[in-house]
Structure formats: structure tokens, C-alpha cells
Assembly symmetry: C2
Homo-oligomer: 754 residues x 2
């Protein structure tokens, strides 16, 4: 029997109390869990309960000397902490008690405390100064289950797709020469087309299964192979093919769609011009109808009015050209026209000039080029005429009379591409996180002594904090983008204006998230992350431009904000002033509830982890920003400032609103999804990921919430602590969480990830 000062019944509680007090781990509500457990413990005498309760007073904590005594008691018992035990702290406590008392009865109450507190070995494994049997990754959750949840209804397609990527053609390698690289990527695109993936989103009559949602899901998976493949695939089937499918009519579908889906007809999407990056309505290329020859003449008027950065430009036979359509001397606005670029011998057609854009920061497997047209004549039938047509009598006709509305209806059909870009960005982020986390679960660095094994990188709090919230975000954005594509494809909702606003915001925040994540992963892997062989470098170069193409993020956020301001009711256009001004003309009122000071400083964990709090915060932010923005604009307008200038003055405010709106949308979409999940541990996990995501988001904009008085200083600090706590809590599951994304082993080629 060894010496100690406590009763047999008290002894097993000692490690719990040491954990509670030595590290300020538990909040007031959590110590209440312990209080209740003690009260329910029939083995304790009244005196025991009194003693233990005395140790639970937050205003009168046990003395440091007492804590040290507890620690020595644990240390001297020579017990090991075995992280893989089902209840590691209870188990350690029981073994410690046995050492001093040779008693083997197990106190079930301890188990209950451990379950209810939610603390895990990595919260306290450093505290006792005992030997620890570490567990790199817990198997509490199952990666295959997570993957199944995320794949949802697309499981069969995605599994088949991933298996197909196992072909040697997709083996990752370093490509420095753009010509050779492009040949390989073209082969990859053809390979996928042959297996039906290119036509996936087209109707069955043209080789597809009309599965746009599955099509979008593939974009994440293609990123596991290579960014250039992803983008070239998207240009060929999504942009070029999509313009035929959505802007063309049956004659175009019959002639071109099947060939396009099979990659027999390679095409490009010629919208952007050198002089007009984001301002599509202002493109200068003209398409003039010549009634005499019944042809449309495509022409580049000035030297800088060429089409720019056009993907697939060097391989294509045809282009979908966006130009000002002029019929009988009248400009009918931007329309798309199919223009042959090359003949069967791959020689340029007369009047067409194409130049390689040259080397880029990334995506060098995509053949981007500049295109000039010098009076190139094509048949009238080449006009993609779903929304505007030239009739046999040479007159222009459109069912949509308003040219602005017509233009934005045409562009709106292409919103699916933005979802795919966001999806690809997300895939890039997942890939980088998988590499960085697998590396951090193997790599050891430093310690206080060279005698002991160095710590795993993943066990450093700074490392946990920099990577864990990004993993949570990936789960949230995955679910959100799935839902966006589902809504976009919902034929029962033909009005896509709401979706356009939503996607404009989400594409921006998700592609920025992807870039930030990849950068964080690069740095987290140190010099190893800088080597091309470890894949993060390529991802960094490739994903970078996602913030710019398919709509520059800043421009998109302005669009999103104007959409919010106009309450989605009005016509959606790039200037958007008239719609917004109409709304602002009506009465505005600040419907926001005043924030109760008690609420602004509520810091208990139930509240901070509660979806209701997060949703309220996001909703408050969006509404408040909308209201103050509207008031500012109205005030400018009233003083006579031109509306264009008024909107210039509030640009940074608009950007803030756009981001806030998108963040709220992502989180509420995710919450709805989790709500519908069957109860069980996976649902709990998803809830925890959601809480981390939300608290991390609120932290990022804490200054704004503080400025508004929505949260007080104490609450702001408490949120930061909860973010760190959740990161520690998820630490044992990080390995499984990244495996849950189902990145195939044959894609995960980075040496540091293996």
C-alpha cells in the first residue's frame, strides 16, 4: 500500500480534477457536468461529496501546491496514458487508484463524466508527466463512411471516374515544356470523352445522361490529377459545348453536340477581349449581318480588341465567338456565333489569326491564345439563336425585348461554369490539405530534449490552428456547392437570378479560400512543400487564376452585393443601378433587433457552439451591412451625386456585403444539410465541423462584430479560445477527415504524403 492522503473513493477523481484546474480547460457549464456526476455517485460519502465539491469553486480554486500534489500522485503511480483506450482518462484514473489501493472496482460515474465533458487525450496528455502511448490518428470515425456521405447520390459515377483515373495516362509527372504538356492533357481529355464523361451533362440524344450535378463533382476529382486537365476539360465540354447546348437550338445540337462531347470537334469559348477583361457587354468584336450574302461577318476592329486568353485556342477547330450583333445597321447587343477557326488539316481559316498566350504561372497544359478576326464570313445559321435570331427575311427577332435582359439571360445560362470553378478550387484545397496533414502526421520536429522523440508537426498548436479550420471549411463548402448545383439544375425553378447572385458570391469566397489554403499548406510543409514533386506548388500556380477567370472575384462580389440590395426582384445586370435605386426609393427600415448586452457577452460553450448563435450573427451582419449601405447610397443620390459615382463611393462596403452574404449562405446551406442527416456520430462530427467553421468565420470578421457591439471583448476572446479548443479536439481525427475526401491513392503521388 503506497502513501497518499485521499480516500479510496476520492482517488480516481484526482486526475479529472487535475485536468480541470491545471489548464483552464473547462468552462463553468462543463464543471457543472462534474458537479452533477459527483452528486449522482452513490459510492461517495457526504464528506467525500463536500470535499470534491469544494474543489469545484471557480472563485476559489484549489491551491497550486494541491495541484502539484495531485500531479505527483499520478506521476508516482507509474501508470501509462493509453490514448487508444475507449475512455482513456477513466482508465488511467482507475489504474492509478489500483496502484495505491489494489482495488479493481470500476467507477462507472467517471466514464459518464468523460463522455459528457468531451475532453480527449490530446487535451491533457502533456499534463501528467507520465508515459503516453500516442495514437497518431483515431479510428473513431471511418473515412469510407465520410466519403460515402460526401458523394451522396453521385457515388456510382464518382467511384467509376476515380477508377478510370488509375490509367497510366493520368500518372502525375513534371511538365516543363508547354507543347509536350498540352499534348498529354489533350490525350487525357479525349480519354475521358471516350468514356462518356465529356457529354455527361448533355441530353441522352447526344451521348450524355443530362447529369450536370455529377459533371460538377468530377471537377474536384480532376484536380487530384492536374489543374490543366480540369480547365481544358471545362473549356471543351462546359464552355464551348455548354454555349452550343444552352444558347443554340436543335439544329446546332444535332450538328455539333455529340461531336463536341466525344471531343471529335474541339472548340473554344471566345468571350474575353484584351481591352475588356471583365466588361463583357463592352466587347468590341462585331458580327455584322450581310443580307445580300445571308452571312454574318465577324471582325476585330482594333489591335487590342482581339479575343484574349482563350483556352483550347491552339487545338480548336471552332469557336463560340461573343460579338456585337449588328443587323440592318442596328446593334442588337452581344450574341454568340459559331466560327470555324481551322480546316481539317488544322490550317487557320482565311482571316483568322491566332497567337499563343505563352507561359503562365500555372495551367501550362492549357493552350490559351489570342484570336483576331479579319472580316470572317460565316453562314447565318451559325448564330446561336435561342435568345435572339435573324429571320429568313433578314430581320432580327428576340422573345426578350430588353437588350440588357437578353444579354444577362444569355450569360446566366453559363453560371454552371462558375460552380465548376469553385468546385475545382475546392478540390485543389482538399488535395493540398491532404498532403500537408499526412506530412504533419509523420514529420517530427524539435523538442525540449534531444533524448526524447521529437513531436509530430501536427501536435503543435500553431499547426493545428493553421490547418484544422481549413479542413472544416472544405466540408462546409463541399456541401454548399453540391446544393448550389442541385438548385441550378432544378428545372422547376426557371428563374436563375437568385442562383446567379448566390454563385457570384460563393465562387469568390471559395476560390479565395482555396488559394489561402494552398498557401498555408505550402508553408506548413516548409521546403518540402516547395518541391514540385509534392504537388502543392502546381496547385498553387494552377488555382491562383481561379480568382480571376469565370468572373473576377471583386467584380463578382459587387454583382452579388447589388443582387442583395435589389432583393433579387429586379433585373440583374452588371451596372445594376436602376434596379437598386428603385428599391431604395421605397421606404427602408432597420429591422435589426438591438443587441442585448447580456447576449453580447454570453460566453458559455453551449451558446458558442450553438448553430442559432452562428446563424444569428451571420444574419445580423448581412442585414446590417445591407441597411447601412442602402442608407449611404440614398444619401448620396439625394444630394445629386450621379448613381454611378455613388456606387463607386461605396465599393468597399459592397465588397463587405458580398462576402457576408456568401458566408451566410454557405453556412445556412450546410446547417440544413446536417439537420437532415440521420442521428449518430457522423452527424455529431459534421455539427462540430460546422461550429468550427462558423466560429472561425466570426473570428475573421471579429473587428466588425466588435465595432457594432454585436459581441463584446470577452465574447470575442472566448470565441478565439473555442476555435483553438475545437482544433485540439479534432486533432485525433484529422487523418480520417482528409481521407474522407476519397482522394485516390493513385492520385496522391506526393512523396511526403506517403
Amino acid at each position: 500500500m503506497k502513501k497518499h492522503d485521499y480516500s479510496l473513493r476520492i482517488l480516481p477523481y484526482i486526475p479529472f480534477f487535475y485536468v480541470i484546474w491545471s489548464d483552464d480547460l473547462l468552462s463553468a457549464s462543463e464543471t457543472n457536468v462534474v458537479r452533477k456526476a459527483i452528486e449522482n455517485d452513490d459510492t461517495l460519502t457526504k464528506e467525500d461529496v463536500k470535499l470534491l465539491s469544494g474543489w469545484l469553486q471557480r472563485d476559489n480554486p484549489p491551491a497550486d501546491s494541491e495541484l502539484k500534489g495531485w500531479k505527483h500522485l499520478v506521476h508516482n503511480s507509474e501508470v501509462k496514458l493509453i490514448e487508444s483506450d475507449t475512455y482513456p482518462l477513466s482508465s488511467l484514473s482507475q489504474r492509478m487508484a489500483s496502484y495505491y489501493q489494489s482495488d479493481d472496482t470500476f467507477n462507472e460515474q467517471l466514464k459518464q463524466i468523460e463522455i459528457n465533458l468531451g475532453i480527449q487525450p490530446n487535451h491533457y496528455n502533456h499534463l501528467f508527466d507520465v508515459e503516453v502511448e500516442h495514437e497518431t490518428t483515431s479510428d473513431h470515425y471511418n473515412a469510407k463512411e465520410l466519403d460515402l456521405i460526401l458523394k451522396g447520390k453521385h457515388a456510382a459515377l464518382i467511384d467509376r471516374f476515380r477508377t478510370d483515373l488509375d490509367d497510366p495516362l493520368f500518372t502525375w509527372d513534371i511538365h516543363r515544356n508547354k507543347e509536350a504538356f498540352r499534348e498529354i492533357v489533350l490525350k487525357q481529355v479525349r480519354f475521358l470523352a471516350e468514356r462518356g464523361y465529356g457529354a455527361l451533362a448533355y441530353p441522352e440524344a447526344y451521348g450524355g445522361t443530362a447529369d450536370m450535378e455529377g459533371y460538377a463533382y468530377m471537377f474536384e476529382n480532376m484536380m487530384y490529377v492536374d489543374g490543366s486537365l480540369t480547365i481544358k476539360f471545362g473549356v471543351q465540354f462546359g464552355l464551348f459545348g455548354g454555349s452550343i447546348q444552352k444558347l443554340g437550338t436543335e439544329k446546332h445540337h444535332d450538328t455539333y453536340l455529340k461531336e463536341t462531347g466525344e471531343a471529335n470537334l474541339l472548340g473554344c469559348f471566345a468571350m474575353t477581349e484584351t481591352g475588356h477583361g471583365s466588361n463583357v457587354r463592352g466587347v468590341k468584336t462585331t458580327a455584322t449581318y450581310d443580307a445580300e450574302s445571308d452571312q454574318i461577318i465577324i471582325h476585330t476592329p482594333g489591335a487590342n480588341d482581339n479575343k484574349e486568353y482563350i483556352g483550347n485556342a491552339l487545338h480548336s477547330k471552332m469557336a463560340s465567338v461573343f460579338a456585337q450583333l449588328i443587323v440592318d445597321g442596328k446593334n442588337q447587343g452581344v450574341h454568340a456565333i459559331l466560327v470555324p477557326l481551322r480546316n481539317e488539316q488544322h490550317e487557320l481559316m482565311p482571316g483568322v489569326k491566332i497567337e499563343d498566350n505563352g507561359y503562365k504561372l500555372g495551367l501550362n497544359g492549357v493552350d490559351n491564345g489570342k484570336i483576331w478576326f479579319n472580316q470572317v464570313a460565316v453562314p447565318r445559321a451559325n448564330l446561336l439563336n435561342k435568345y435572339g435570331d435573324i429571320r429568313d427575311d433578314g430581320s432580327y427577332h428576340s422573345a426578350i425585348k430588353n437588350p440588357n435582359k437578353r444579354f444577362f439571360t444569355m450569360l446566366g445560362t453559363l453560371v454552371g461554369g462558375r460552380i465548376c470553378v469553385a468546385r475545382a478550387g475546392l478540390g485543389g484545397a482538399k488535395m493540398a490539405l491532404a498532403v500537408a496533414i499526412k506530412h504533419a502526421l509523420k514529420r517530427r520536429q524539435f523538442n525540449d530534449s534531444i533524448k526524447i522523440q521529437e513531436d509530430l508537426l501536427m501536435d503543435y498548436p500553431t499547426h493545428q490552428l493553421r490547418l484544422t479550420p481549413l479542413v472544416a471549411n472544405a466540408y462546409v463548402y463541399h456541401v454548399t456547392l453540391d446544393k448550389m448545383m442541385e438548385d441550378y439544375c432544378d428545372e422547376s425553378q426557371p428563374d436563375k437570378r437568385v442562383i446567379e447572385t448566390q454563385v457570384a458570391g460563393l465562387k469568390s469566397i471559395i476560390t479565395w479560400y482555396a488559394n489561402d489554403t494552398i498557401q498555408e499548406c505550402r508553408e506548413a510543409c516548409g521546403g518540402k512543400g516547395y518541391l514540385i514533386e509534392n504537388r502543392i506548388a502546381d496547385l498553387k500556380g494552377d488555382v491562383d487564376i481561379f480568382t480571376t477567370f469565370e468572373g473576377d472575384n471583386t467584380v463578382l462580389l459587387l454583382l452579388a452585393a447589388k443582387g442583395v440590395l435589389s432583393d433579387f426582384k429586379a433585373e440583374f445586370n452588371s451596372a445594376g443601378f436602376s434596379a437598386v435605386l428603385k428599391l431604395l426609393g421605397s421606404q427602408l427600415s432597420d429591422k435589426l433587433a438591438t443587441i442585448n448586452p447580456l447576449y453580447a457577452n454570453k460566453v458559455d460553450s453551449e451558446h458558442l457552439y450553438n448553430q442559432k448563435f452562428h446563424k444569428h450573427a451571420f444574419d445580423y451582419r448581412t442585414r446590417r451591412l445591407t441597411y447601412t449601405l442602402a442608407m449611404r447610397i440614398r444619401s448620396y443620390i439625394k444630394k445629386g451625386m450621379p448613381s454611378y459615382q455613388a456606387f463607386m463611393k461605396v465599393q468597399t462596403h459592397l465588397i463587405a456585403l458580398g462576402k457576408a452574404y456568401a458566408a451566410e449562405l454557405a453556412y445556412t446551406t450546410y446547417c440544413d444539410y446536417v439537420e437532415a442527416m440521420p442521428d449518430g456520430k457522423n452527424k455529431t462530427l459534421f455539427e462540430k465541423l460546422g461550429a468550427l467553421h462558423a466560429l472561425y468565420e466570426i473570428r475573421k470578421d471579429a473587428e466588425w462584430f466588435l465595432e457594432q457591439g454585436y459581441i463584446g471583448g470577452t465574447k470575442s476572446k472566448a470565441i478565439r479560445q473555442r476555435v483553438e479548443r475545437l482544433c485540439t479536439e479534432l486533432r485525433p481525427h484529422l487523418g480520417v477527415l482528409v481521407d474522407g475526401w476519397g482522394i485516390p491513392d493513385h492520385c496522391l503521388s506526393a512523396p511526403i504524403a506517403n
Copy 2:
């Protein structure tokens, strides 16, 4: 005579009042400027003064209808706003008055108002709805003068260096093949060596001028040519040569230093190992002294203990190898030994194995490699023996008895390299900003109508806000790094421990700043920024690793924070616990003054622009973080937590302190410099840049200041507004500000910058 409602004397004031009220441009203190001017205006009648004063009441502003009337008055006068006028608003006002009154007397009081208000055409040029003669860039400041100020005492050297870079050898080009690229970079290094730049920091006896400060300045300028050149140059002359100079003794200098400076002897710096990235003290390579043969045997014990990422590894004849020195069976800690790698025929020496590290995200012109040693014997004399020697009798001797202290003294001599890396990062940021801003001063985008000329990118508030503070930061960091190198080179201050802490912090925040800046510039240039020809892409790839090499930023910030904690008094080492704990044992007190609520909500512009406020805020942050950190650590230790674990628990807090400390240091250094400048417009400009830098920094951490109650919500918003205002104010000078960095035209090859 045209119709209007105002007196001849009142009329020229109208545009000023319109500016004041239509855009909330002026703070209370600024409207007082106008009030005083009116009172001093002898031309006004009492009635005039009463009327005008009535329009200055902030609690009772003029009605919107009145404002509209004013605007029409200006608009109907058909005057032009000529931005290049010396006093554009006074000039416009006078011309407007003349239109209505045919009176040509000029009211001098107006000029005074305009001067004292500090408002510029780009604050109000959008308000009047009149024709504007735009000025892309103002010539109020002179780029050559700014360049002279920044070059300081290094002007002659830098001018000569920039001229030498005009050789065709330095013409920028795309390099995709690493072998060919490396040959060019090697030629560039040799070219510079021939002109004496390699040996610049060495003593005259070895071909130099002992000009370490000038040497550091060149790093910025080399970045204008290419990152690979910069780094290979640094490895050859700074790291390899520097280790001989600083760790070796006369015999080494005599034998190797001149040859090294002339690049006749190429060498590398073999410190990092695959298994030990940041933990240099834990390197596994051994250097065992064999008394019998009087040789040192260099050996790589395990497969992962090879030297890793060693620059110049493929071109070098020799390496400075860091290894555990074992003499008579006793490990004396890490020492550097010169080890021949190849013979004259460039064949590997027996026992040496070298592998190419392969392609990287950037810096592919640098030949990084892995090196293994298999029982490689070198003469005893090859030990760089300044701080530890093996005597003729085979015994080890060092003047520094404590092995830790010895190790950190050796490493400390290499701190200059960190300054050069920060300097190179700064050069990269400047280059990217120059490209992005020159592009934004030419590129037009959007407008409310396609009839009017589109706006310049640089005229968008979002664009100003994303780039202008980064320009201000570059000025601040330039001055700071100059001063750091001056202090580092100051032989009257032999104790370099303070500088080490300072440089650890500055290298981190400046290389992160550089990366963020380059990324912002890439996005600000849209797709054009993604093309390699426009240079930003290469900068992005090259500068990325600056956050990792020469000390990982996160690790360096931890070091800096520990340096702050131990108050520089104690021995500085990588664990640093003992020193810090010693400090914490003594009484700590929170000397911070309580923040006065009035101060926390002081929002007038004099206060917000005042250095005193900025310095107080930075000082408050550093001290508060230090105090709370110390209290947390002490509390952990008192409860018996091992010190290593206690430091783990506060890692994120340490990082915050490290950043805060570095930010304060940079700003106070800059303020001291500006203080000493001669009075004049350039000093005023530097003060304005400093204010923008400081307010932007405070904004970035606004959540922390708000949490602490150091600033209130109102002040936080006011600071944001001031940041935006300063960006607008600096808008006309951005072109000159970037030209002030003196980037030679022959280096600025980006097509979008020309």
C-alpha cells in the same frame, strides 16, 4: 449675366460647400478650417459671414435641395475641372464665379482653404458633373528625389550596380529548363563577382570594401533581375563566403576568401538536413576527429540525415558543412567544417554523393541538392575554428565554455543573411507593385455608359485600397531594414542578441508582407498578371520560399517572442525556457495605463494622423501581450506543468507577440528616420506614408484593440475611413511613389508596365 441666387462674394464659396456636404469628406476639425477662413475674409459682409457660417453646422446641414441647387450652379457654368491646376478647386470656383458675374478678382482666401483642407481633385472630381481634365499622375513630388533619399549613403554603389545590370546577360527571359537556366544564373553571378560585388562585404585585403550595408541593398536590386540570381549570389558570397569570413580564422581567409569573392571557388552552405529542417542543433551529420591521422571524418549516419536543399550544390567545389563535432569521444556540439565536394574536373570526391533536388515552385535557376557523406576525411585545419578549435595535441578548446552559447554565437554571426532575405522580399514586393500600379494607371475598365471613356483601374476605390497601403509599407520596411543592417554592422555594439531578436521578427513580417503583396498585385492585374512575361508570376514563385528558408517564419516569431520575454538579458537559445523562467520568477507588474474612454473614442483627424497615437497603440499592444503571456506561463508552471509544455500551450500567443513586437519596431524605426529628415514636402510625404502604414496596421489587428477596449467601435470605424481617405489622397502620387524605388527601365520588362 446669368441667373443665380447668391452674392458675388458668396458665389466662389459654393463649390467648397458642395464638396464639404455632398460626400461627408470633412471632419469637424476640418470644417473649422473653413469657418476661420470665412471669418478672416475681409471681402465678406457680416450678412455673408452669417449665411456661410449657417451652412457649416454639422447638426443642421444644408438641405438636399440646396445642395442640388449648388451642383446645378456649377454644372450650368460649364466650367472644367483641371486637375493639374495648382489650386484646382479655387480655380474652378473662380471661373464659375466669373461665368455668372464677369468678375476676375481672385479671392486669395479660397486658396488658403484649399491648402489647409488638404483635399485633392480625386476627392471631389466625380461630384460636380462637369468635364474633368484628368491627370494620371501628379508631378508634385519627384521620383528622382525619392530614389536619392532611399539610396542614402549607398547612392554611388547602387547607381553603378543598376547600370551594370544593363548588360544583355541580365535581360529577363522565360526559363523552363532548369539546367539551361542555372548556367545563365551562374554566368550572372560570375559577371557580378568580376566587378567586385561578390566580395563587397569582405575586408579590403580580400578584394572587398567591407560594405555589408551596400551588399544588403543590392539584394533588392537583384530581385528586379531575377530571384534565382539573388539567391545563388547570396549562397555563394553571403552564406558560403560568410561562414568562412565569420566562423573561420585568418588561415581560412587567406586561403579561400578572395577566391570565393571572385567566384573562382564555388561553395555551398550545408546546414539543413532532411530530418531536421528548423532544428539545426539537432543535425545528425557527424564530424569525428581522428587523432591518429589528424583528420576530421565527416559522415551521414542515416538515410534521412543527408544535407537537404543545399543551394549551389551542383556547381560547388566545396561545402561549409555543419555537423556534430566529436573530439575524443565527446560531442562538442555543432561546428562548421570545409569539405571539398569535387575535384578540378568537377568529379565528386570519394564518399560524397549529391542529388539534384529537382524542380521547385520557383528559383529553378538555383541548383539545390541533397548531399550525403560516407566517412569523408578532411584535414583538421578545415574546421572553421573561430569559436571552437582542435589543438595540435588533439584536445578541443573554445573560449565560450557553454555549448549552447557557443552554438548561438556561431549562428548569430549569420543573422546578416536574414536581413538580406527580407531585403530581397521587399525588392520583390516593390517590383510587383510597380508592375501592378503602372498597369492600373493605363488600363481602363467599365463605366456606366459605353459612350464615356472607361475609368482607369487605379481610380477604383477598391483598387486604391488594395494597393496603396502596400506601397506605404514598402517605404517603411525599406527604411527599417536599412537601419537594421546599420546596427548589425556597428562594431561598437558587439552583442548582437538584440539584433537577432529584431531581425527574427522583421524577417517574418516582411517576407509575409512580400508574399501577400505579390499575390494582391497578381490579382490586381487580372489574367495579365498570370502571364510569365509580366514578371509577377516568377516573383510569386520565387519569393514564396522566403517565408521558410533562413529560418521558418513561425519558428522565428517564437524566437522573437522569447527574446522579448527574456528582456534580452538572458542567454538566447532556441528553447529559451530557462532564461524566460528566470525572468518570470521575478515580480511582474502590469505597468499599463488604463485606457481613458475619451481616448478610446477620439476620432478627430489630428489625433488619428498623429505618430504619438500610433506609437502608443503599438507600444500598448506589445506590453500587454508580453504581460498576459508571462502571467499565463507562470500560472502553468506554478501548477507543475513542464516548461516545454507550458510554452506549447501559449504558442499562438507567442506568435502574436512576435508579430506585434516586429510591427512596433518597424514603425518606430521609420518615425526616427523621418524625424531626422529636413523639413519640406518630402518629409510631409514620408509622414503621410507612415500614417497610412500605421493606421493600416492597427486596422489589421483592430479586433485585438477592440477586445482590449483600447479603441472603441467609433474609433475603429474612423480609422477605417482614414485609411480609405489616405489612399485617395495618395492616388495622384502613386506613379511617382513607385518610380521613387528606382527600378531601372532595363529591368522593368513587363509589357503591361510599359
